[in-house]
């Protein structure tokens, strides 16, 4: 393998890896904060791409501004979905409700949301692909390797979002409460904090991350209604590999899966996904909680 190909595959791996990381961080925040395994996450990602398409391509706003707007719109959509569906559902649960019941009903509710968002988007935007003109179409040349500048920007932006998220979760009171809720909601309630808005924020934050992931990737791939369905499986896979409830695990898992897929597709073709799944099984044999996760639930 030539150095050029290697670098190109590496950059591709980092690009898709960073998108997975953003997706899975969102999934994980929602899962731990609100106990919802969010099947609609892929659709939120897709909506993020469509919102960016609207602001950037149709209204000709600045790319950075469009991206922020797509994150914000998705936070709003997420918050509304939570209030409209999951907040109503959670009122049914009591102390003695079994975990599997909560998990199943929340997941099923998110499947309902998924169906509505998916088909709704299809009705509004139709099935055709929407291309977004890349804001940075330049190709840069590193050691005679041609790399699209946009890919580097995607990696950079993802890193930036991860850092912001870290600061939010570990350096602010808001983040402290959010983390506390994911460990022990009752204790937080006893502290006199109203947990219901925390749950809404968790869902909104997770949705915003999905929206940002969709918005960032939109200029690279075209925007289609099926883009959400394709990414959700891999996102779940990364969640498992990294381990539920571990930020570092998520990042490691995202990069690992990104690398495997990027190099795998180059050398194995279509069975790369199978190969990745085999690897996940092997990882789970030795570490049931994922790479860096705590013990399995």
């Amino acid at each position: 393998m030539s150095l050029g190909l290697f670098i190109q595959l590496l950059v591709n791996a980092l690009t898709i890896g960073s998108i997975y990381i953003l997706m899975v961080l969102g999934l994980d925040i929602i899962l731990r904060g609100t106990k919802i395994l969010n099947f609609a996450h892929g659709q939120l990602y897709m909506l993020g791409a469509y919102v960016l398409f609207l602001f950037f391509q149709t209204l000709h706003l600045n790319f950075a501004l469009s991206l922020v707007l797509s994150g914000a719109s998705l936070a709003l959509i997420g918050a509304l979905s939570y209030l409209g569906i999951f907040a109503v559902l959670s009122r049914r649960f009591t102390v003695s409700t079994t975990f599997s019941y909560i998990l199943l009903l929340s997941a099923m509710a998110s499947v309902g949301l998924m169906m509505i968002l998916q088909q709704g988007t299809l009705l509004v935007f139709g099935t055709q692909e929407r291309g977004i003109q890349s804001p940075l179409p330049q190709i840069i040349d590193v050691f005679n390797v041609r790399i699209s500048l946009m890919r580097l920007i995607i990696i950079f932006l993802s890193l930036l979002i991860c850092i912001c998220l870290y600061l939010l979760m570990y350096k602010t009171t808001f983040g402290k409460i959010l983390r506390a809720v994911s460990y022990d909601p009752e204790a937080v309630t006893l502290q006199g904090i109203n947990t219901s808005w925390v749950f809404v924020s968790c869902f909104a934050l997770g949705s915003a991350l999905a929206g940002l992931a969709g918005g960032i990737i939109a200029p690279l791939f075209s925007v289609t209604p099926s883009m959400g369905q394709n990414i959700i499986f891999m996102s779940f896979l990364v969640l498992l590999v990294g381990g539920i409830g571990s930020y570092r695990g998520t990042i490691a898992g995202g990069l690992l899966v990104g690398l495997l897929l990027s190099f795998g597709f180059q050398f194995m073709g279509g069975i790369a996904e199978l190969f990745v799944f085999m690897l996940v099984i092997i990882i789970l044999v030795f570490r049931p909680g994922g790479l860096l996760g705590e013990a399995a639930e």
Partner: protein, 340 residues
């Protein structure tokens, strides 16, 4: 409220027996009352759906939520097809072989999967189902994404033939009834009690000596093998199979059957859910563009407002009216004695 098993008196038992006999008789007579081949087809599909729904319920009874009901359904369909079409075996030889192969597969994969109960198992089951579909799609000798066509109907057993929908219905009905009997026996034995205990409180179950891992694995193997047999019947009924028929959507529909009918009713719940979910979308076809939206909204309405499903809602309203009655009697008694 459920009465303890010892509370059931002979009268209710006799009514139950009567209801079961009537239901079975109705199912046996059913195809004679229906002319349309298409309706017969839907009934057969509803039977298969019921079986799949019951496998979901079996895993749920042990506290495992599977989104991969379609995985072993596909394994069964393809295994049997390969055995019959490539190895030239009779359907009746392929069937037990399919059971064995899928049971061994379920044991192997299940041993790895059920170590992670909770969220991890949900995801793993979903991904596993998706991977089975991709694997079949990639495998050229299994027909790839185009699938396999021209699968023969089961060979006749002496004078009994299975060539028509009418005949095939009895075959699938026999299997359905077998599954119902076996599952009921399991649920009412101490295996079923152990499953419930694991679901309701894994910690307490542990302190009573219940090995959660082994019992979950048992549920996984039984459920998966049942689904594989259902797949085998499907393949030889529908006569062509494609990987697309076993996608993640099918698994989601399967859990919809159980939730819609009533999660706490492991046998009747999936049956009612499967019948409704097989027939209603057929009549929603007129509005095909918004059919998923309607299904999604229906799903949300059930989960938000009728979380007990159809049967659970019926039972609760019956209980409420009883409780209301009790409360009124108490009130009247209290007013008579002049206390409280």
């Amino acid at each position: 409220m459920k009465l303890p098993n010892n509370g059931a008196n002979h009268k209710t038992n006799r009514y139950k027996l009567l209801a079961i006999i009537i239901a079975v008789a109705a199912l046996v007579v059913l195809p004679f009352c229906i002319e349309s081949g298409y309706i017969k087809h839907l009934i057969i599909m509803a039977c298969i759906g019921t079986i799949l729904g019951m496998t979901f319920s079996m895993l749920y009874s042990a506290g495992l939520i599977t989104l991969g009901a379609a995985a072993f359904y596909a394994v069964g369909a393809y295994t049997s097809t390969v055995l019959v079409m490539y190895a030239g075996l009779s359907f009746w030889v392929a069937l037990p072989l399919t059971v064995m192969i899928s049971a061994i597969m379920a044991l192997g994969f299940g041993a790895l999967f059920v170590r992670n109960a909770g969220v991890a198992f949900v995801i793993i089951s979903l991904i596993f189902a998706q991977v089975i579909v991709i694997a079949i799609g990639q495998a050229e000798f299994l027909g790839g994404w185009g699938g396999i066509i021209g699968i023969p109907r089961p060979d006749s057993l002496g004078p009994v033939e299975f060539a028509t929908k009418h005949d095939f219905y009895y075959l699938i009905l026999a299997f359905l009834l077998l599954v119902v009997v076996v599952y009921t026996a399991l649920y009412s034995s101490r295996i079923g009690r152990a499953w419930r205990a694991i679901k309701l409180s894994p910690n307490l179950a542990g302190t009573l000596g219940i090995n959660a891992y082994r019992y979950r694995l048992l549920a996984y193997v039984i459920g998966s093998t049942t689904a594989a047999v259902a797949g085998c019947f499907y393949a030889h009924y529908f006569q062509n199979i494609t990987p697309g028929a076993f996608s993640g959507w099918l698994s989601i529909y399967v859990q919809l059957y159980a939730v819609l009918g009533g999660l706490e009713f492991y046998i009747l719940g999936p049956a009612i859910g499967a019948v409704i979910m097989t027939f209603v979308p057929e009549y929603l076809r007129v509005v095909k563009e918004i059919e998923p939206i309607i299904t999604g909204i229906l799903l949300l309405i059930i989960i938000l407002f009728f979380p007990g499903g159809i049967l659970g809602t019926i039972r609760n309203s019956a209980n409420v009216s009883f409780e209301g009655f009790d409360a009124r009697v108490k009130k009247i008694k209290a007013s008579l004695t002049g206390k409280r």
